[in-house]
């Protein structure tokens, strides 16, 4: 192997690793706050990517309608929960979040789908659609199960993944799609060529990680989310609603998932079920980080990306096997370090 190939593989690995880092961070966040192992994170990737590609191609994505339908169900859930204490501001908030928001996004999407707007508009709409789906999914599936065990939450999570994957096939078909690049410019440094899309991946990933760091470190809602992750009962005792924390966590996770998809769909052809595999690689990084540590997850994600790049060069048939095998020594080491972990009880 010469230096050019080595640098090229490193560059490729870091680009993929940056995406896995975003997904891994979202998985850690959702697990820390809600104890949900978010298997459908991969579907957020697919939905984001294919919604963006559909809009760019001038097609109306089915995800915008799905957001309205499940928003309606979420609103019905909220109304049922509030039936005994009809509190007008809360009903108005539920209406705005669950129904008015996805309907407004649907109308905007219908208008944009006919117009062939710039990629930036498709990007924002795709993020809003998937964010709305993420919020409603939390309300319908995970909020009612919030007090159950991690195992029950995991089973529900698998169910949501399968349902979303099936709907993905319905909305986008079995054919793969590609989206337009966000940046067309490119630069050359020595023997390395940096494409605009590659730079967008680096830039947006770094901006998002810095943004999350500022959100958690400086804002009251970010601190409330951390507090819920550290001590759920303590958070409730100061008046932080765990449902609010769950909503914020799912909002961030679905947005991050969709953004990751939008970043890679100009580089790779994505199918309705590709997101699952991408999400799993973020999951490996999250597991290496113990589903707790954000910095360790980010570093692990870069390692996963680089190992994947080198495996596809040396043994492309075994690429996935090598990447997923990374998990075994980590799990072995972790099980030796902490032989018994009792599940947290409320």
């Amino acid at each position: 192997m010469n230096t050019t190939i080595l640098l090229f593989l490193l560059q490729d690995g870091i680009t993929n690793g940056a995406i896995y880092a975003l997904l891994g961070l979202a998985l850690v966040l959702v697990f820390a706050v809600t104890r949900v192992i978010l298997i459908p994170q991969g579907e957020f990737v697919t939905y984001g990517a294919l919604t963006y590609a559909s809009l760019a191609a001038g097609r109306m994505p089915g995800t915008a309608k799905l957001a309205v339908v499940i928003g309606l169900v979420a609103f019905a859930f909220d109304l049922y929960a509030m039936r005994k204490t009809l509190h007008v501001p809360r009903i108005a908030r539920a209406f705005g979040l669950n129904l008015a928001f996805p309907v407004a996004v649907l109308l905007a999407t219908m208008w944009v789908a006919d117009q062939r707007m710039p990629a930036g508009v498709s990007l924002v709409l795709s993020l809003l659609i998937v964010a709305s789906i993420g919020l409603s999914l939390y309300r319908i599936v995970f909020q009612p199960l919030a007090h159950t065990s991690v195992l029950v939450l995991l089973i529900a999570s698998v169910g949501v993944h399968l349902a979303l994957q099936g709907l993905g096939l319905l909305f986008f078909g079995a054919e793969g799609q590609r989206g337009p690049t966000l940046l067309t410019a490119s630069a050359t440094l020595g023997s390395l060529r940096f494409t605009g899309q590659g730079m967008a991946v680096y830039g947006i990933t770094i901006a998002f990680i810095v943004g999350l760091w500022l959100f958690f470190g400086l804002t009251l809602y970010g601190k409330a989310l951390r507090a819920t992750a550290v001590n759920r009962l303590g958070a409730r005792l100061v008046g932080i609603r765990t449902t609010l924390s769950g909503q914020i966590a799912f909002l961030l996770a679905s947005t991050i998932g969709a953004l990751s998809g939008i970043l890679i769909v100009p580089i790779t052809t994505l199918y309705y079920d590709t997101g699952f595999l991408i999400g799993l690689k973020g999951f490996i990084a999250a597991i290496i980080g113990g589903l707790i540590s954000y910095p360790l997850t980010a570093v692990a994600a870069l390692v996963v990306g680089i190992v994947e790049a080198f495996s596809s060069f040396y043994a492309s048939n075994f690429k996935e096997v090598i990447v997923f095998t990374l998990l075994i020594p980590v799990l072995l080491l972790r099980s030796l370090a902490a032989p018994a972990v009792e599940e947290e009880k409320d």
């Binding site: 009251l220 001590n231 303590g234």
Partner: protein, 241 residues
């Protein structure tokens, strides 16, 4: 004095085991009420159930409003606050963040006044404001737990074993603060195993045994009751004579 908290015929169960049986109590405005009793009597369970942590059969009313359908967070919003036995601090966050989250539902101006108030009551917390809560000493953690609760400007504070595991000098300081809170218009429902200290600071007291109240009255009268003296104050002979 009008009634702030009214608990009537409360029952709390863990599965088939009834930990609290037919308990009724009241706490008025500007009043310190204590519940004393041996370990396992059901004091902590009762306090947690009043806060909504466990389901409770019976009626809990705060400022005349039935609390049955309210979640913990709604009870906090009404002005009811619990400082639990295990403190439930945000261990990996610093003192200042813990306090700030205590005022989660309040405006920024209110939180600023809250910081000033809490740092005046507990100057040690100001010195430690950048230290992680999990690395504080037991006494400092208790101060932080109380300070965090006070940041939300509660009308009533429920303190569960605030003296547990603390050095006597720190316990004295904690009880001084409890007395100060009454002067500031905060009512206190205090659960304590340190019966002597609790009865000294309280206006009224309930004695709990095996999930039931067996005695209640003015704290000064309870303190001189021979049964209480024998069981909880450790001077049976003196009381008998």
């Amino acid at each position: 004095m009008s009634t702030l908290l009214e608990v009537s015929d409360a029952h709390v169960s863990y599965g088939k085991v009834e930990a609290v049986r037919s308990v009724s109590l009241t706490v008025a405005e500007n009043e310190i009420v204590t519940i004393i009793g041996a370990n396992g009597a059901g004091k902590t369970t009762l306090l947690s159930a009043i806060m909504g942590v466990f389901p409770l059969k019976g009626r809990v009313a705060f400022l005349g409003e039935d609390m049955a359908r309210l979640e913990i967070e709604d009870r906090v919003a009404r002005g009811l606050c619990l400082v639990p036995e295990h403190r439930e601090l945000f261990a990996t966050m610093n003192v200042e963040d813990n306090l700030q989250l205590g005022a989660f539902r309040m405006s920024k101006a209110h939180a600023a006044r809250g910081f000033e108030h809490v740092y005046t009551l507990f100057p040690k917390l100001k010195e430690r404001r950048k230290q992680l809560a999990g690395t504080l000493s037991g006494g400092e953690q208790q101060m932080l737990a109380m300070g965090r609760a006070l940041m939300g400007s509660p009308k009533m504070l429920m303190l569960d074993e605030p003296s547990l595991g603390l050095a006597p000098i720190i316990v004295a300081g904690i009880f001084e603060i409890v007395a100060k809170l009454r002067q500031e218009g905060v009512s206190v429902l205090l659960v304590e195993q340190n019966a002597k200290a609790a009865l000294n600071v309280a206006d009224r007291a309930y004695v709990m045994e095996l999930g039931e109240f067996v005695l209640n009255g003015k704290a000064s009268e309870i303190a001189t009751d021979p049964r209480v003296a024998a069981s909880y104050l450790g001077f049976a002979e003196a009381a008998a004579s």
